[in-house]
């Protein structure tokens, strides 16, 4: 949308936008440039100096089987949390969209998980899923060892995925509900007149019509799976056992700040940033083509 009414002033806009630009330059562009520099050098942990190594850092991570495992794990993690969270949220939004009496109460509670800090949820879910504690513990009493995220990597991953998905429910729900409510009621009614039953309408009409939202959420969830996962993993498993819950962000943190390999971490960071930019770019391409209601 282009505006018609503008102000013209040679100085004022710069004064207005200046502070923000400075912050962005200082905390984003400069550091990113510097990280880029790190990624092409070997930086001494104590900052004593560095040497230019061209693409060695990138080659090192790309040659590292474990790195690819982490990438694959991140992808798996992202897909699972995204899928699970969006499915639950969509399911709820569809029913809430029927707007029966009292729906408002359900609706407002569904938003709550949005407010919870990932580490807080992590701590809570860690208790819920602790093998010896009271909730899952009873199952373990019946079948000993059936659930043990402390030693079983798969269990640990499942535990984090569930927690992450839970955290995302609120956000996804809001967007789905808004998208569903934005569909003109007459389209649903036209579907009903055409003989389609609710489930059929869901798949033939509502889902395709909220496709842009689905896609937007897909991207936002994928991005959030790179970010929120840190707090969860750090409070729940610290990447273990045996690195089975180590995802890309966690590895960056771990290699960089725990392993003191700033250069390797910087290279990983650059890769991750490119990945996220690529995802966002894909979304924008899609949004351009988004469906319009007439």
């Amino acid at each position: 949308m282009e505006r018609r009414a503008y102000y013209r002033n040679p100085v004022l806009p710069w004064l207005l936008i200046g502070p923000q630009l400075i912050l962005v330059l200082v905390f984003f562009y400069w550091p990113t440039t510097q990280a880029l520099y790190w990624a092409f050098t070997l930086e001494q942990p104590w900052g004593g100096g560095n040497s230019w190594v061209w693409l060695d850092n990138f080659l090192a991570i790309f040659r590292d089987g474990e790195y690819w495992l982490t990438v694959a794990r991140s992808a798996f993690y992202a897909l699972c949390t995204t899928g699970l969270s969006m499915a639950v949220a969509l399911f709820l939004a569809c029913f809430v969209d029927r707007a029966l009496k009292g729906t408002k109460i359900f609706q407002s509670v569904y938003v709550w998980p949005y407010a919870i800090a990932a580490p807080a949820a992590g701590v809570a879910f860690r208790f819920i899923f602790a093998p010896q504690s009271g909730i899952v513990g009873s199952i373990n009493q019946i079948w000993p060892g059936i659930w043990d995220p402390a030693t079983n990597g798969v269990h640990a991953l499942i535990m984090i995925i569930i927690c992450h998905a839970w955290l995302g429910i609120g956000y996804n729900f809001i967007f789905f509900l808004a998208a569903l409510q934005m569909i003109p009621r007459s389209i649903t009614e036209a579907g009903a007149m055409d003989g389609a039953r609710p489930v059929r309408r869901m798949f033939d009409l509502q889902l395709p019509l909220i496709a842009p939202t689905v896609f937007f959420l897909l991207i936002m969830n994928l991005i959030s799976s790179f970010t929120d996962s840190f707090g969860l993993i750090d409070t729940m498993t610290e990447g273990g056992p045996v690195g089975s819950t180590e995802v890309m962000v966690y590895k960056i943190y771990f290699d960089g700040f725990k392993g003191l390999d700033y250069s390797g971490a910087a290279a990983q960071s650059i890769v991750l940033m490119l990945l996220v930019i690529a995802l966002t770019f894909v979304q924008f391409k899609w949004v351009e083509k988004r469906v319009h209601y007439n």
Partner: protein
């Protein structure tokens, strides 16, 4: 009055003891005020020190664990302790330090770079009631005996004969290698240069880990860790587990925390029958003075070091924790006092005995590997991998060596051209 900071990596009870110490120093004089900040654990202390140093906000004194020693040595970020003390007019008898300890923190020429402070070694702890129950007199000295008593305990209904925490790579792996005179890396565990290579998969630790795995599968060794909700130490002091291996530093804590009715004792780490025991590795940490502070602050630091070196202080510190006295004189004095003869301190002398069992060999004098903290973390993963994921031991250790070599090469490249001091 000059204020200066001291960061340390102890927490819980030990952290309280450090604070006592700091208070003592502050009360003993009025020129300086030391501010002691706990960074929770050794890893954090190293990381935070580095972060702070890069930001020019470093403390004057920081406590760095054994595994970070080489990192510090090459950092160029420290002021050698010997020089510090000389500059400020303190005369310290550097030769009085236990030789194993001194060599860990000194250059190849013997110059001490950091001040040994809380030093330890690993021992094994037994629940004496459990030993009694299975009819074992004294304490097992070999792994064969350990296996026998542990099996017997299992028979006798103890659910957790041996507590094992994979994050205890130090005691289970490094100390094992040292007392069995096994190299971890070539070039004398790195003392010979930055180009050392890992050799763990070629030594006795392969069998040791195989044994651990076997015991674990039989339920004789039980996994206890923070992740699992209870650490090995906690399980031991609660009486849930009967045998554990840990630092002598915990001797004091165990004494305080042992649940009612839990009786315990310690022993030198067991060795396998048919092997010669070598001295064990010095553990714990030393105090490093960082560059970039004012002369006044250095004066304070020197005064603090001097305070710590006073025989009374050294003795108090050893008493309230389990850390060994770091000077010959201190040890002799305490022995002469009869400190080690009765409860609750009996057993601590074993640490010194272990540390000085033989003159240090190439493999037991210490570890001089770059970014060793990361290598140790890899060992933790490796042990978990074997235990939890049934990864074949040899394969796992070969992978560990490979990974370790990567870290070493990276370190070598990062400090290209640097010489070990």
């Amino acid at each position: 009055q000059t204020k200066f900071e001291f960061w340390y990596g102890l927490s819980g009870d030990l952290s309280e003891r450090v604070q006592d110490m700091c208070r003592g120093f502050n009360e003993s004089q009025s020129d300086y005020e030391i501010v002691c900040v706990s960074q929770e654990n050794y890893d954090n202390t190293l990381q935070n020190t580095i972060a702070a140093y890069r930001a020019n906000k470093q403390p004057t004194v920081t406590q760095i664990f054994d595994a970070g020693t080489l990192d510090l040595m090459l950092s160029g970020a420290y002021m050698p302790v010997r020089q510090l003390m000389e500059d400020n007019g303190y005369d310290i008898d550097w030769d009085n330090y236990l030789s194993g300890i001194a060599s860990y923190f000194s250059t190849s020429k013997g110059e001490m770079l950091s001040l040994p402070f809380n030093n330890s070694t690993a021992v094994i702890y037994y629940n004496t009631d459990a030993l009694e129950k299975v009819g074992f007199e004294g304490t097992p000295q070999t792994w064969e005996e350990v296996e026998t008593v542990a099996r017997a305990m299992k028979e006798a209904g103890y659910e957790c004969p041996i507590a094992f925490d994979p994050s205890g790579a130090w005691q289970w792996f490094e100390q094992f290698s040292a007392i069995h005179n096994q190299p971890i890396a070539t070039k004398g565990n790195g003392y010979g240069g930055l180009d050392a290579e890992m050799v763990v998969s070629q030594g006795k630790f392969v069998d040791q880990l195989t044994w651990i795995k076997k015991m674990y599968d039989e339920g004789i060794i039980v996994h206890k860790s923070k992740d699992a909700g209870e650490t090995a130490n906690d399980a031991f002091v609660n009486g849930k587990c009967q045998i554990t291996s840990s630092s002598i530093a915990d001797h004091g804590t165990f004494g305080k925390q042992a649940a009612e009715g839990v009786h315990w004792t310690d022993a030198m780490l067991p060795i396998w029958e048919g092997t010669e025991r070598t001295n064990s590795l010095v553990g714990g940490a030393s105090l490093w003075t960082l560059k970039g502070k004012s002369d006044e602050e250095y004066k304070g630091a020197a005064a603090f070091f001097n305070y710590l070196a006073q025989p009374e202080q050294a003795q108090t510190w050893s008493t309230i924790t389990g850390y060994v006295p770091v000077t010959m004189a201190g040890f002799e004095a305490m022995k002469a006092n009869g400190f080690y003869d009765g409860a609750p301190y009996k057993g601590r002398e074993l640490a010194i005995e272990s540390l000085t069992f033989t003159p240090p060999t190439e493999n037991s004098r210490g570890i001089r590997l770059g970014n060793y903290a990361s290598i140790r973390a890899e060992m933790v993963k490796t042990m978990q991998d074997v235990l939890f994921n049934d990864r074949p031991v040899l394969e796992a250790l070969q992978a560990f060596d490979a990974k370790g070599n990567e870290i070493l090469r990276r370190f070598e490249q990062t400090y290209k051209g640097a010489q070990l001091p």
